[in-house]
């Protein structure tokens, strides 16, 4: 298993479209989120040239997890779509804060029943989170904010990340989501 990090133009040829297809499988087909789709791919207005992708792949090149990072100095998911998750705080707009979204670690090719573990297979999750946070830190971020299913908070706590919720969760399309701060000084 290894991780590829970069903007669309930095990724190996064809990998971005595989990521969009993987996201469709996870978020639309498995989790039932009502998202914008194009055929068997899922992408939205936050998939831009400056968006950074973190992608885990197995030895055969199959994608086993992904996430995307956006600087909060540009439009981002929480700021534009879910600012109410910030408990009254204005959405951050600072080079100190990056956003992590569309985070998933579901290995469809694992021989074990890791898919049954849901959206987050722990070893992949930890590796992806570490890579995402390290990348954000390398760009000057002191903290990462994420919009996620509430199960992510449990996982972050269990795996030793310095994280805490920004406010109460809310239900979107039947699924509780929340905003969570993650410190980059791991």
């Amino acid at each position: 298993m290894y991780v590829v990090t970069g903007r669309q133009e930095d990724l190996p040829a064809g990998l971005y479209s595989k990521v969009a297809n993987y996201r469709h499988k996870v978020f639309v087909e498995r989790l039932g989120w009502q998202l914008q789709t194009f055929g068997n791919t899922e992408q939205d207005q936050f998939d831009r040239v400056d968006t950074v992708y973190i992608i885990s792949r197995d030895a055969h090149g199959n994608i086993s997890g992904c996430g995307r990072l956006l600087p909060t100095t540009q439009p981002y998911l929480l700021g534009d779509i879910f600012p109410q998750l910030l408990n009254g705080m204005p959405p951050p707009n600072s080079p100190d804060v990056w956003e992590l979204s569309r985070f998933a670690a579901m290995d469809f090719n694992a021989k074990t029943s890791s898919i049954a573990a849901g959206q987050f297979s722990s070893p992949i999750t930890i590796m992806l989170l570490q890579e995402a946070i390290a990348f954000a830190a390398s760009q000057g971020a002191k903290r990462v904010i994420t919009v996620s299913p509430i199960g992510v908070e449990r996982l972050l706590k269990r795996t030793g990340f310095h994280a805490h919720r920004a406010g109460p969760p809310m239900v979107v399309d039947g699924h509780p989501i929340f905003a969570c701060w993650i410190e980059t000084n791991i």
């Binding site: 408990n87 705080m89 804060v97 029943s113 049954a116 908070e153 406010g167 109460p168 969760p169």
Partner: protein, 146 residues
């Protein structure tokens, strides 16, 4: 970061000014926190519990979460996990599992952070004084009845 503290007045503990700090935490002393009523927001079953989705699994344990909030704005948010277990006597009961998760950082009288571990332990002691089991049971029963 160019975010100023956001303040609000707790209408129940009406002398208390609650503040969100730029790091997203709400900071209170333990004494202040203990006087803030918490109300149930939502509860649910874990959507990703492997034990419930594996073929042939014995339905021996159900797990879920519950979320509670203050009635003030900005809102204190506390959630914790639970398991629904059968005792040897054949009774079922809800039991909290793991530490509560929140947007609270408790501070001492000098407004110094108590730290995450100490803060979580004190929040845990307040959570355990809440009679949440019946409320969660009723909510879960209603939500998943159909």
């Amino acid at each position: 970061m160019s975010i100023k503290n956001i303040t609000g007045v707790n209408v129940i503990a009406d002398s208390l000014i609650i503040t969100i700090c730029p790091d997203g935490y709400m900071r209170l002393t333990f004494e202040e926190f203990q006087h803030i009523p918490l109300v149930h927001l939502m509860s649910g079953l874990d959507e990703d519990n492997p034990a419930l989705s594996q073929e042939g699994a014995v339905f021996a344990e159900m797990t879920g979460y519950t979320e509670w909030v203050s009635t003030s704005t900005p809102t204190i948010s506390i959630g914790w996990d639970w398991t629904f277990q059968f005792s040897q006597a054949g009774q079922f009961y809800y039991k909290r599992s793991g530490k509560p998760r929140s947007n609270l950082m408790l501070v001492d009288e000098q407004q110094h952070d108590l730290g995450q571990m100490k803060s979580d332990s004190l929040i845990e002691s307040v959570v355990d004084r809440i009679v949440w089991q019946t409320i969660v049971q009723d909510y879960i029963s209603a939500r998943y009845a159909s």
